[in-house]
Point group: C2
Chain length 237, copies 2
Amino acid sequence: MQPFAPAPCSQCAHRADSVCNAIAPEDLDLLARIAGTARAGAGESIIPEGAPAAYFFNLTEGHARLFKSMPDGRRQITGFAGPGDFLGLAASSRYAFGAEAIDAVQFCRFPRAALETLCRDRPALGERLLGVAAHELAAAQAQMLLLGRKTAEERIASFLIRCANDGRPCGHLAADVTLAMSRTDIADYLGLTIETVSRTLTKLRRQGLIDLPEIQRIVLTDGPALMRLATGRTERH
Amino acid sequence: MQPFAPAPCSQCAHRADSVCNAIAPEDLDLLARIAGTARAGAGESIIPEGAPAAYFFNLTEGHARLFKSMPDGRRQITGFAGPGDFLGLAASSRYAFGAEAIDAVQFCRFPRAALETLCRDRPALGERLLGVAAHELAAAQAQMLLLGRKTAEERIASFLIRCANDGRPCGHLAADVTLAMSRTDIADYLGLTIETVSRTLTKLRRQGLIDLPEIQRIVLTDGPALMRLATGRTERH
DNA sequence: CGGTCACTTGATCGTCTTCAATACCAGTGG
DNA sequence: CCACTGGTATTGAAGACGATCAAGTGACCG
């Protein structure tokens, strides 16, 4: 991970997508004054699991995985982050999770105390953060339903729908999905093994619901059927 | 569910435990002005799943389960709430979950818009809500690890530890736990069936880790061993 | 080419589920 | 007092889904 440099908030391409849009353009220097930017290469750690929670982070380029792990190596990925995503809410004195770069990432960080102070001056920022937290909580609950009650097929379908719906209004699916993460990451996100992920993908391909032209690309040939699978509106076995 | 009555915030016994403690005593009438209280009997719905999210809630007596469900009846309990717990954060325009009373409950509710306005005037309240959200997010991530990666035995152990640690400083376990919820609720919380919950409890009893003197009461005879199981520090099978 | 790495496919195994029977308890009425 | 009922929990036997173990494929790269 490279050392932190001053953040050029006023030139940030992802300001519109991120929590920073709660700050008026003329106040951006307040933000830039407390922010720093850095980069990390694929596989590098951004937040070590259980580290003292001194900063919030904002991803500006690339993708990251958030995870919790167990002493014997079992790992659960709790979410993925892309450009514009805010990290670090799920923390008290220490981060309840870890974060690693999936590909080359760029991000900025804010000292927690400084950002909390800024929230007092700019209430819109606090409201924005609460909105982000509410959104993440709802996503976490959906993921709990997936992990606790859905079959492998339903998990994969849910995952694909989620990817295809990313950054679009609800229900408007992309025709195809380019995955940033490996099969191992998908497995650890869905509570499965890589073998089951692989097998289930080929099963869906044989059923004509998807196509796998390249290893990182998935074409949704039958979005509605996938959606039915994902929500459990299909008879099981 | 009984109709809503005015809230006597200044006499509330659970104010100290709840988000309402962010409001100074002399400003409590601001809170009382927007709040209403109601009761619900065991099994009754407090928040219908997917209903328009017009209110926040605060439980003052009894216990509730929060859940998400699927069209064929599969259900995942995402959490339990007790006196002092705040409900309704995981919502945008509609609640992402439902809430039902486990036993007789009493609660108050606040119109979202009014509470958001109050947050502007009293920044401490907004900070408190963000803190609650952060705490719930961390709990949700821990639950994802449980649901995605832990064995039945580890799930039950984690659950018992969680119950015994409820409302205490981390690591200080109660010697015994009185469960408010049924085996079905436990199963739906842990992503198991009632049969597996029952079998695993008797297994832990035979191993000498717990005792089951009454159906709703569990004595932790070997807390440290349970803790090792819960965190995965025990060799599997 | 030989090597590695990620993914896929196959065969077998085990954990948890499913289906079914039984136990237990509180409430009701004979 | 005891039989009957309904709900909840426990226990048993059989089965299925996904995990594990193992081999094979293909891409990339030195």
